[in-house]
Subunit: 221 residues, 2 copies
Amino acid sequence: MMNDEEVILVNFWSSPFGCRVKIALEEKGISYKYIEEDLFNKSSFLSAINPIHKKVPVLVHNHKPICESLNILEYIDEIWSDRSPRFLPSDPHQRAQARFWAYFIDQELYEASKKIYRGNGEEQVLGKNEVLRILKLVEGEIGDKPFFGGDNLGLVDITLVPFYSRFYTWETFGKFSIEEECPKLVAWAKRCMQKESVIKSLPDPLKIYNFIVELNKYLTK
Amino acid sequence: MMNDEEVILVNFWSSPFGCRVKIALEEKGISYKYIEEDLFNKSSFLSAINPIHKKVPVLVHNHKPICESLNILEYIDEIWSDRSPRFLPSDPHQRAQARFWAYFIDQELYEASKKIYRGNGEEQVLGKNEVLRILKLVEGEIGDKPFFGGDNLGLVDITLVPFYSRFYTWETFGKFSIEEECPKLVAWAKRCMQKESVIKSLPDPLKIYNFIVELNKYLTK
């Protein structure tokens, strides 16, 4: 990396999407400036760098913004392709498989999980069942490898692991145990938590829980 | 391409997502076998090659399935990287921009457009406004280039152009003119229609309209 490079991550601390970018930057050993965005009072800077969605995370690399977390992960992997680990496999079919699972997690898990802590009664049960269905499908995919990316964290690991710090919230609201239902997946998450890049990036589960309790109160005011 | 390569596209004729794959294969000059899937009576083959979503299109390349249309486009571009055109720019930031717009179109346009021909009254107006908002944002992105991919069809062109054969349906149900609202975008679509790969792949707009009229009757039975 050249010394005059500027890397800025614009994020909100609890975002599992922004957490992906943090892990990716840590894994590649890239120094960056962190800007916390106030999602309850969005800045004009956020509108300027992400005019379509006005959402975090945004990576601003040498004044050029890149939006959408999976897009940012691919960008980081391509720009710093000389730095290990590579997040995507070199074999095109394996790349396509990794992209498929990353987008599957991206599009399904967050929306399903919101039903657990926003919904009541039937909707909450629906959310719990959807989350377990998704997690079990993903668990089936890991097989006997230590990580989805093989021996290193790859695209699918980095996409999924930020949700581990939300398991406590889902379990508390939904009254169920993910470890009982998906023991291999929780074993995988614990392996991820031995990586410094992951420990440094994941928010505290109890802090997430308290934040979501407060957010629910705010949203139903 | 080696002679013993086997390329199969499993699709349903009206799918704008499958149409993307057809255009991509035509652009690269790849011979393939086409299998029409009956979406009203799905085959066990489809469940075997796309167990998660059971949706078309699926590309089966040398017995390996690849699912999700944008993922398939990236795969085709990578596997046949020696064949022009390349669908993605070589510059990482331009690649990220192309992926951003392709995923934006992919996630927003189809769902919004369904409201126009499935909805009534208020929902239909909502759908029309959403579709125009999306098309205008995309139109703003093309600028003065002949195609989103510059001088050739690229990822964003191939993602968007299949919807051109649905414009007639949207306009007829929604009673509006896309050409009046987005003249530059329609000019772009007409430029695309001069490409043999696009002409050969897009279904007839009137056939699409009649199909959607019949589908609506079937769904409300």
